[in-house]
Symmetry: C2
Subunit: 102 residues, 2 copies
């Protein structure tokens, strides 16, 4: 398995007991996942970018949280409007979106 060039993790507050409740989820994180998928698809980046929903990262007050590896960049308070910026600037351009870094 070759790791993708970028792996975007979006907290959707998945809990290991099967519930999905929590700050990121309540702040529209599921819509964020879908927006990332659309944006990656629209830009033909699906071959090099993977998007994965996750459980809690433990910094809920800054949610919704998005973490991008391999750099390990942490974005907080991410809105649907920020998705295009992150994909264009970070994923395509290789530049961290400093204004969203937490």
């Amino acid at each position: 398995m070759v790791s993708p060039k970028y792996h975007i993790f979006v907290c959707t507050s998945c809990r290991i007991n099967g519930q999905q409740k929590g700050f990121c989820y309540s702040k529209g994180a599921v819509d964020l996942v879908q927006r990332f998928m659309e944006e990656i698809d629209d830009r033909d980046l699906s071959g090099e970018v993977m998007i994965t929903n996750t459980g809690c990262f433990g910094i809920c007050d800054k949610g919704p949280i998005v973490v991008v590896y391999p750099e390990g960049v942490w974005y907080g308070n991410v809105t649907e409007d920020d998705v295009e910026t992150i994909v264009e600037q970070h994923i395509e351009g290789g530049l961290v979106v400093e204004s969203l870094v937490i």
Copy 2:
């Protein structure tokens, strides 16, 4: 937010619709998460290692799947017995556990 030295992602088949069903979940992935947490705690590594449960990585037939960043190493068919090996050899020793790589 400073990224942890190692970030271990364990698929527990979380779905963004709130269900948690799927191959990794059915193969005991929740117990894996708990074993990783115990092992990290026992070895006093919680300051440098984060464990996060995730949704599907799309390679279910090789599950349970564990992905370790920043290297982007993909482990498959991970059992509870493998947790100690991964933590000791990879996280503490810095050496990929080749026998589990997919």
